[in-house]
């Protein structure tokens, strides 16, 4: 068991690092990345309260406990078929506590020339595609968490869509975290490569089955070649005691279009860091987000839209609904590099604060070094209007129905472009449960 006592000035995470070497020996490719990752962790430090990018949230909850490696757990896997998406029948990869589950996965619905599978297997087979693309697109320099993810790199999803191939079925990447008696650490690395003119819809789905504490650290890398179109929906529904720290790096090439929609409703503490890096002229990308949090939940989104070449159209609408003592943080960086002209960038963070004890920190951050640029940005914090609620109640809707409708109406703009119907339905359901908890908590007060 990877469990040791804490030493002075070290967190349990560093202690855990001593055990990453036990993963070595199965693939040179992975061994090398792990070695570099472990080095990276040793050469930097995990975020401290004074670090500018971490000053609004506390990681004490992450540092104060010890964790075992998820792979050391004895896991009895319950029936998870309820969480399958009907549209992704036979287009699904399932990872349980970070480890690929063959029995739950099926990719029969996908065209034969699409390379899809788990990284552990592809690495063992010596896949050249994997070697070419793994660990290339997550540019998180000096970030201990990305290095930590590399240091424990073991498994995850790999998808390569060949030129001009349009994949009809949305691909469901289902990451299940099980209930357990011990706190555990799970990690995954996923790589999606969309070659020229290809088209794919992805649903990255993180689900916690219990109410237990664990630390999940997924890193996703995407590469969009010329004219590629990738729609990427991420749903985070971890256990309400979990810590979810995620990085998503996307490289977008000429004429490509990356649309990403991230929905956060789970975890006690979550941090999303999407980072879109423009690699050539004439691209479009969207980094929208919806956060629904209550109780003691903390959700933090730090995004980077890096405009490195001319002619980009980028869009970020980030909406948060906050109840109870929940705390939402948004920091959206927009970089426009020198000579990256004709950039049209939109960014807005809108917050619906339902309680007096909720907190919102929001900070748009623009760094523009070109002159022919249109960047609009803004942030608002509002409440549910009593006259709106009364209007709907006077039409016969009860308090719950009225609030649900208004919260859903607020949220809709960030999720209406998700094209997978069952995902839309499950989000309606999440809004319903959220509103139900909101009313319950008011009754309790």
């Amino acid at each position: 068991m990877a469990k040791v006592k804490r030493q002075k000035d070290r967190t349990f995470l560093q202690d855990l690092l001593d055990f990453q070497g036990s993963l070595n020996g199965k693939s040179e490719l992975l061994d090398e990345i792990r070695l570099k990752g472990a080095e990276g962790v040793r050469n930097t430090h995990f975020p401290r309260p004074k670090d500018e990018d971490w000053r609004f949230i506390s990681l004490r909850d992450l540092y104060s406990d010890s964790y075992v490696l998820a792979s050391d757990l004895d896991v009895e896997v319950p029936d998870i078929s309820d969480h399958y998406l009907p549209e992704s029948q036979d287009a699904r990869l399932v990872f349980i506590n970070g480890v690929f589950s063959e029995q739950h996965s099926s990719t029969d619905a996908l065209p034969d020339d699409v390379v899809i599978g788990n990284i552990a297997r592809l690495a063992a087979e010596g896949s050249e595609l994997l070697e070419k693309h793994l660990n290339q697109y997550a540019d998180f320099e000096d970030d201990a968490f990305t290095s930590f993810n590399s240091a424990f790199l073991k498994d995850g999803a790999f998808i390569y869509i060949p030129k001009e191939r349009k994949v009809e079925a949305p691909v469901h990447l289902l990451f299940v975290q099980t209930d357990a008696d011990q706190n555990y650490f799970a990690t995954s690395r996923s790589v999606i490569v969309a070659d020229e003119g290809s088209d794919i819809t992805l649903v990255e789905d993180h689900i916690g089955l219990g109410n237990n504490k664990y630390f999940n650290l997924p890193v996703v890398e995407l590469k969009l070649e010329e004219d590629a179109f990738v729609k990427h929906t991420k749903i985070q529904r971890e256990s309400r005691e979990a810590i979810h720290i995620a990085r998503t790096g996307a490289y977008v090439a000429k004429h490509s279009n990356y649309e990403s929609y991230t929905v956060t409703c789970g975890a006690k503490l979550s941090r999303n860091e999407p980072r879109i890096s423009q690699r050539d002229e004439e691209v479009e990308f969207t980094v929208d987000g919806l956060v629904l949090i209550d109780g003691n939940q903390v959700s933090d989104t730090h995004s980077v839209m890096d405009h490195r070449f001319s002619h980009a159209d980028s869009h970020q609408l980030h909406k948060c609904v906050i109840n109870g003592k929940a705390h939402s943080v948004f920091n959206g960086k927009i970089f426009v590099r020198k000579d990256a002209q004709r950039i049209d960038s939109f960014q807005e963070n809108r917050n619906l604060l339902l309680s007096r004890k909720g907190t919102v920190n929001t900070k748009p951050q623009l760094e523009i070094f070109a002159d022919d640029v249109v960047c609009t940005h803004g942030a608002t914090v509002g409440q549910l209007e009593e006259d709106e609620v009364f209007y709907l109640k006077s039409r016969g809707l009860n308090e719950q129905q009225a609030r649900e409708l208004l919260i859903y109406a607020f949220a809709l703009e960030t999720i209406e472009n998700i094209t997978v119907d069952s995902v839309q339905e499950l989000l309606v359901d999440e809004v319903h449960k959220f509103t139900e908890r909101q009313l319950d908590s008011e009754i309790a007060v």
């Binding site: 006259d387 709106e388 009364f390 006077s394 039409r395 308090e399 009225a402 409708l405 703009e413």
Partner: protein, 260 residues
């Protein structure tokens, strides 16, 4: 149908008394008009009947079909068949007219023990009602009042009334801000919805809608009370002479009252 007895109401926040003893009886099959100058309490009366929580009833009662409704939530009043057309209809972006109205219709139907309608049945039903207010089918798929013109919002209120088919409707200044064509459309809708089983109370500042909707009774509200009740002729007189003469009458009555 509706019986309001000596109703006193104040604003919950600061205790300002707005209604100072309103008495009003509305029977089924009737159309009433409540007129009065700004600030006389007409709008407050409609909101209090619909259950707006910003007001506190300090005295008196509101009976609907013989039962007090003071303790009922706004939605419970809606379930009984009470409807308020808002003076300033609220915009709800993201919620289509169709979705709101189907949910409202079915909730009320369920409460009243009537059959609910599935989306297709509801669409057919709603199309019929659209004609009453001369609205196009696209209206159903637009977000509730979002980006509507003033006239469209008012027509939408009457459309909602037609769909929900209430027993008692308070129309709070539904005629204000309308050009003459829109006014005729709105009035036509009210006339088509009005029948011997329901009742309509028009709360209005102006007489002109009464050229198109024939009221059975006209009330004048002054300073939180119904100061005078008459028929259509009263409305015409108000239009010609304004409210001053009614106020003078009220003042002399209260002076006399004090002298006694």
């Amino acid at each position: 149908m509706l019986e309001i007895r000596d109703l006193h109401v104040c604003v919950e926040e600061d205790g300002t008394e707005i209604l100072k003893g309103v008495n009003l009886n509305v029977n089924k099959g009737e159309i009433h008009a409540i007129m009065g100058p700004n600030g006389s309490g007409k709008s407050t009366l409609s909101k209090v009947v619909a259950g707006q929580e910003a007001y506190e009833v300090t005295q008196g009662d509101i009976l609907f079909e013989g039962e007090s409704i003071l303790e009922l939530e706004p939605e419970e009043r809606a379930h009984l068949g009470i409807f308020l057309a808002f003076q300033y209809p609220v915009e709800v972006p993201g919620v289509t007219n169709k979705n709101l109205l189907r949910q409202a219709y079915n909730t009320i139907a369920r409460e009243q023990g009537r059959e609910e309608l599935d989306p297709l049945q509801f669409e057919d039903y709603a199309y019929e009602k659209l004609e009453l207010v001369d609205m196009k089918p696209e209206f159903l798929d637009r977000s509730v009042n979002a980006g509507f013109s003033g006239g469209e919002k008012k027509r939408n209120e009457i459309f909602q009334m037609a769909v929900l088919n209430p027993r008692l409707s308070f129309l709070d200044e539904t005629d204000s801000g309308l050009d003459i064509d829109a006014l005729k459309t709105v009035a036509g809708g009210i006339n088509k919805i009005s029948n011997e089983d329901n009742a309509v109370v028009l709360v209005t500042h102006y007489q002109r809608i009464l050229d198109y909707v024939q009221p059975d009774k006209v009330h004048v509200m002054i300073d939180g009370k119904i100061a005078k009740t008459g028929d259509k002729d009263l409305a015409v007189k108000l239009e010609d002479q304004g409210y001053d003469w009614v106020m003078d009458e009220v003042a002399s009555v209260s002076v006399n009252g004090e002298q006694q």
